[in-house]
Structure formats: structure tokens, C-alpha cells
């Protein structure tokens, strides 16, 4: 293809070559990221002797579900999976509710002390979980919520990161859209429900993915707050399985694969929300 001048590519129109290069690079990156995960899944399907080899091969010779069945039937992984699912789902629902309403209020409702609250949120982000573990444990023991799902859900329900994300996003939504709804006669609650929430949908989706993933992977606090074995979450249980069966690589890989599976589903399901611009076209200029 003749290229008359350099202008076309200078103007930001990628040539075919450049595009192919970009895709190649992305493919390489994806391969590097996915390789260990796929290998892990592959090991989970291997027979015990094959998996026990010094370095397990890349592909199972005789694929078997033995490890998976073992992990489910012998290790109660179903219970832990259920615990994790309840905790992560409840945390996500609660923190999206809190982040959505608090972020909206901080961005668009004028109330006394709004700045102070915003500042406290930033402060909240800066506190490491480790510093909170002891006081939290004391608190929850006091109210008899140790070994209770609430112990894992409540501390993260008001998630400062989520609130700040929603606030920043909502600041980009012009207040005049909400004013228009006021003029239309909508109550403040109706405005929140019918105008603000649909406009917030993309950031709420992002926050829910973030919270779900963080909650699912949380290790330290669940380990301390859930001392009863049947209340443990997957990562904690996984660590226990690792300690007990460190020779049984296939079993460990099966448990890890099951732990990882929901994350993959969440990412695939939420992908399409990321690159959506909702406010395009509502305003002039």
C-alpha cells in the first residue's frame, strides 16, 4: 500500500503494521499472565504420580477429575466455597449500597461538614488492615460476632476506596442534570433512584468487582475472625490444605483452581462495563 506522506500515521491513524505489532505485544503479555494459571488448572487434572514429578509436565497425560473430587469430598471445599461466596457477595452488595449513596451525597448534596467527611475517607484509605486487626477483633468479640459472617462483612461494608471512586466519578456528572429532575418535580429519593444510580452504573460495576475480588482474596482478617473451622473462607482453608498436603501437588492445584474460578467469571462478566461513557451527548459543548 503506497503511503503518500507521513501525515496519516502522524495524525494518529495507526498503520496496519503498527496495529499488528500492538496485537502481537498484547498477545504476548496475555500469554505470560495466563500461563501459570493455565498450568495450575492443567496440574489439577493430572494423576497423582504425574503431578508429583519434580516439575510437572504442561499437559495431563490421562486427564482425571480425581483431585477435584478428592478436594470436594475429603477437604470440605464446598463449605469454604459457600462461606467465601456468602461473605464476598454480602460485602459487595453492602459496600456498593454504601459507596453509591455516600459517594453521591459527597459529590452532589450540600451538607455541613462535607469536606471533613471527604478528608476522613482519604485518611481511611491510608490505614493498613494490619493496624486494624487487633482493635477489630476486640470489638467483634465484645459484641459476640466472632465466627459470624458479619465479622467479615461489616468492617469493609463502608469502603473508603469505593466511596472516593464514586465521589470522583459523580463530580464529573453536571449538577444541572439533577437540577433538571428537581424542576421536573422528582423527589430527592426519586432523583437518586432514577437519575443518579443509572448514571453511576459504570463506576458501581467497577467498585463491585473491586470489592468482590478484594473480599474473596482477603486472608489475614478472616483467619483471625473465623476460628471455627466450618466458618473459614477459601484462602484460609487453602493455606491449611497447603500445609497438610504439601506433597500432593495435584490436590493443591485443584483447590487453588476452584478458589480462582469465581474471579475469572467476575472479570469476564464485568468487562463490558469498563469502557462506557454515559454522559456523552447530554450537554452542549
Amino acid at each position: 500500500m503506497p503511503e503518500p506522506t507521513g501525515v496519516a500515521s502522524d495524525m494518529g491513524v495507526p498503520t496496519r503494521m503498527a496495529r499488528a505489532g500492538a496485537y502481537l505485544g498484547l498477545a504476548a503479555l496475555a500469554a505470560v499472565t495466563l500461563f501459570p494459571l493455565l498450568w495450575m488448572a492443567s496440574i489439577a487434572l493430572m494423576s497423582a504420580p504425574q503431578a508429583a514429578a519434580g516439575t510437572p509436565p504442561l499437559w495431563p497425560q490421562h486427564p482425571t477429575l480425581a483431585n477435584i473430587i478428592n478436594v470436594i469430598s475429603q477437604q470440605h471445599i464446598g463449605t469454604y466455597f459457600f462461606n467465601s461466596l456468602v461473605v464476598a457477595t454480602a460485602t459487595t452488595v453492602l459496600s456498593v449500597l454504601v459507596a453509591g449513596s455516600a459517594g453521591y451525597a459527597l459529590a452532589h448534596v450540600g451538607f455541613r461538614g462535607r469536606r471533613v467527611v471527604s478528608g476522613l475517607m482519604v485518611f481511611g484509605v491510608l490505614i493498613p488492615t494490619q493496624a486494624l486487626v487487633l482493635p477489630l477483633f476486640e470489638m467483634f468479640r465484645e459484641v459476640h460476632l466472632v465466627n459470624h459472617y458479619a465479622a467479615l462483612v461489616l468492617p469493609v461494608a463502608a469502603n473508603p476506596v469505593g466511596i472516593l471512586l464514586v465521589q470522583a466519578y459523580m463530580r464529573g456528572i453536571p449538577a444541572e442534570i439533577l437540577d433538571a429532575a428537581r424542576i421536573d418535580g422528582a423527589s430527592e429519593w426519586r432523583i437518586f433512584r432514577s437519575v443518579a444510580v443509572p448514571l453511576m452504573a459504570p463506576i458501581l460495576a467497577a467498585v463491585s468487582v473491586l470489592v468482590f475480588v478484594v473480599s474473596w482474596n482477603e486472608f489475614m482478617w478472616p483467619m483471625i475472625a473465623m476460628q471455627q473451622e466450618n466458618m473459614q473462607t477459601l484462602p484460609v482453608a487453602l493455606a491449611a490444605i497447603d500445609r497438610e498436603h504439601y506433597q500432593n501437588i495435584g490436590l493443591m492445584a485443584a483447590a487453588a483452581t476452584i478458589t480462582m474460578l469465581p474471579m475469572v467469571c467476575v472479570f469476564v462478566a464485568s468487562q463490558r462495563y469498563y469502557l462506557r461513557s454515559v454522559i456523552a451527548g447530554s450537554l452542549t459543548g
Binding site: 428537581r182 424542576i183 423527589s187 432514577s194 437519575v195 448514571l199 451527548g281
Partner: protein, 348 residues
């Protein structure tokens, strides 16, 4: 239908910035009141106060005779078209139009009928299923207007509704707005920074500058008898010429001897022939000529300063030639040079 009365309103922003100072004006029942002023003079703020989106610092606002200072926008019975249109981006045109009706619990069939009726009236039938981002500027503007029409309010507030449109479309929409006002008969407050829009649309107009009311009058009266130097220079295009009293030497027959005044003459008030015995005569040299259709735009150099002249004239003109022009005494405006206030000549 309702009157809107704004009485001695001050608005100070939370930061301490004073935006409006002692603003008083009123829109009569069914009147189209144009509010005009330069950018940043507080026009949008004034509308937002009437709508209840912001609260007054001092003063009283009455709609239909009732003090509404403490009523939220939902209960003021006003419709508003925003400067930015502010359509709901996640709703189709249909949903944008229907939202207000749905909120107020109108029956589905009735909502549908009225939305389609207004949509048809504004030429939006084919757009009803589109989202705001898929509309042209003019279509968005119509949607915003339609949303306000469906509000069925006693008062219509319009904040520069035409500012985002191109010139031909603006002229067309201006006609449509005038027609709309005639057929609805609603009280309207129309904000614009374009003085020609205010002159052509308003039954009366309020000139605002620096957060203060400069003049309230019919467009004809604002044009003929501007209350001060600011209004004189702001209303009318091309703008009025101002001459210091010292330039009296250039004028024959001007009211003599008044020190500390400034004279103003509109470019279109010059004539090539004297029209009456007490006309004021100007003599100057032609500096620049521009022909626009059948009209000439001249820059005439007087002994102290230049004036812009708009003249309808058959004869050819040449740069550098001297020219004598006449202005009717009534078209010579006089302003106090220090306060800028209009000085009524004793002759009237």
C-alpha cells in the same frame, strides 16, 4: 398563569462572592420578560433563584402572589430550559420528555399521548427512541424545550436556550419560541446575553450588569431612551457612538454649554440631509468605507475622535473626503460624564 415578582434580592455565594445586588423586577401574567446582560453578570443565578435551585440571601420572590422563598423547586410550579440543556443522558428522547409526567403519576396512556403530541409539535417524532448523544444541537434544544412544555408550569424559565445553535437555526428557533409563547400564553423569563434576541423577543426587557438592574422597559424604550451609558452601549448593534462634550466644536446646533456630559449617537441615526430646523450637524472626514448590501458603514473622523455611521445613500463616497451629516435632536442622547446616568434634555 402567574406573575413573578423579584423584590430587593441580594445573592451572596457561600464563598462570600456577591453576585446580585438589590435586584427588583417583575414579569406580568403571560408576559415574556427578557433578561439581558454581559457574560457573568448573574443572569443564570437570577433564574436559579426563581426556580428554587438556589436560595436568596436577602429579598423576596413571589410567584402568583405567594412568597416562594422557602419552597423547593419541585413545588414552585416552574419549568426551566437550562443553558446546557441538561438532558438525562441515560434516557431516550421519549423518556426525557415523559420523566416529569411519570414522576407526577400521570397515567401511562395520557403520558404517551402528551409526549407524542409535544414531540410532533417540535418535529421530534422520528427521534423519540434516540438517546441525547445521538441528537444534533438543535434536536437536543427542542427536547429540552419539550421537557419544559410538558411540565405544564405556570412559569417558564429559559436560560440562553438558543446559545448553542448556529445562526440560521437560531433565527428559526427564535420565531418558534415567540410563536410558542403566543400559543401557550405562559409567563416566561428569557435569559440571553444577545441584546438583539432580547430586543426581538421580549415584551419588556431587564438589562443586568455587574449583578445590578440597569433598566427595565419595553425594547423600544430601552433602545430609544437608555437609562445610562452602559445600556446605551450594550443595546443596539453596531454600538452607540459616544462623544465627549469637548467635541461640541464639531457639532453645529448642539445644546451648548453643558459641561461634564457625554453625548451618544447611534450609527443608524445619521442622515445625509437635514430633517428639521433644530437638527445637529456633524462635519468630518471619511476614514473608512465598507459597503454592506445597500448600506454604507463609514468611519467618520471628527476633530476629537471617530464615529461609526450607518448610512443608506445612493451617491458614491470616497475615503478622505469631508462629509456633513445631520442627527435629529431627539436622537442625541446625553449622559452625565461621571455617573453615566441619562440626562433628560430640557426640551422634552
Amino acid at each position: 398563569m402567574a406573575t413573578v415578582e423579584i423584590e430587593h434580592v441580594d445573592k451572596v455565594r457561600p464563598g462570600g462572592q456577591a453576585v446580585l445586588h438589590d435586584v427588583s423586577c417583575a414579569a406580568r401574567d403571560g408576559e415574556l420578560l427578557a433578561v439581558v446582560g454581559p457574560s457573568g453578570c448573574g443572569k443564570s443565578t437570577l433564574l436559579r433563584l426563581v426556580a428554587g435551585l438556589e436560595s436568596v440571601t436577602v429579598g423576596v420572590i413571589r410567584i402568583g402572589g405567594c412568597v416562594v422563598n422557602d419552597l423547593p423547586p419541585q413545588r414552585r410550579d416552574v419549568a426551566m430550559v437550562f443553558q446546557s440543556h441538561a438532558l438525562y443522558p441515560h434516557m431516550t428522547v421519549y423518556e426525557n420528555l415523559a420523566f416529569g409526567l411519570r414522576v407526577r403519576g400521570t397515567a401511562r396512556r395520557e403520558t404517551d399521548r402528551r409526549v407524542r403530541q409535544v414531540g410532533a409539535r417540535l418535529g421530534l417524532e422520528a427521534m423519540l427512541e434516540r438517546y441525547p448523544r445521538e441528537l444534533s444541537g438543535g434536536q437536543r434544544q427542542r427536547t429540552a424545550l419539550g421537557r419544559a412544555m410538558l411540565r405544564d408550569a405556570a412559569v417558564f424559565l429559559l436560560d440562553e436556550p438558543l446559545s448553542s445553535l448556529d445562526v440560521p437555526l437560531r433565527a428559526e428557533m427564535r420565531r418558534e419560541l415567540a410563536e410558542l409563547h403566543r400559543s401557550l400564553g405562559t409567563t416566561m423569563i428569557y435569559v440571553t446575553h444577545d441584546q438583539s434576541e432580547a430586543l426581538s423577543l421580549g415584551q419588556r426587557m431587564v438589562v443586568l450588569a455587574g449583578g445590578r438592574v440597569q433598566q427595565i422597559d419595553t425594547p423600544v424604550d430601552v433602545y430609544r431612551r437608555p437609562a445610562n451609558r452602559f445600556v446605551a452601549g450594550f443595546v443596539g448593534w453596531p454600538p452607540m457612538n459616544f462623544l465627549r462634550a469637548e467635541s461640541l466644536a464639531d457639532m453645529v446646533g448642539a445644546p451648548a454649554g453643558e459641561a461634564g456630559v457625554e453625548y451618544g449617537v447611534r450609527p443608524e441615526c445619521f442622515a445625509a440631509q437635514p430633517g428639521g430646523p433644530d437638527d445637529v450637524q456633524f462635519t468630518g472626514r471619511i476614514e473608512r468605507i465598507e459597503s454592506q448590501g445597500g448600506e454604507w458603514y463609514l468611519e467618520l473622523a471628527l476633530r476629537c475622535g471617530r464615529v461609526l455611521v450607518r448610512l443608506r445613500l445612493e451617491q458614491a463616497l470616497t475615503v478622505g473626503e469631508p462629509l456633513r451629516l445631520w442627527v435629529r435632536r431627539a436622537d442625541l442622547h446625553t449622559f452625565d460624564a461621571t455617573t453615566g446616568q441619562r440626562v433628560e434634555s430640557s426640551g422634552r
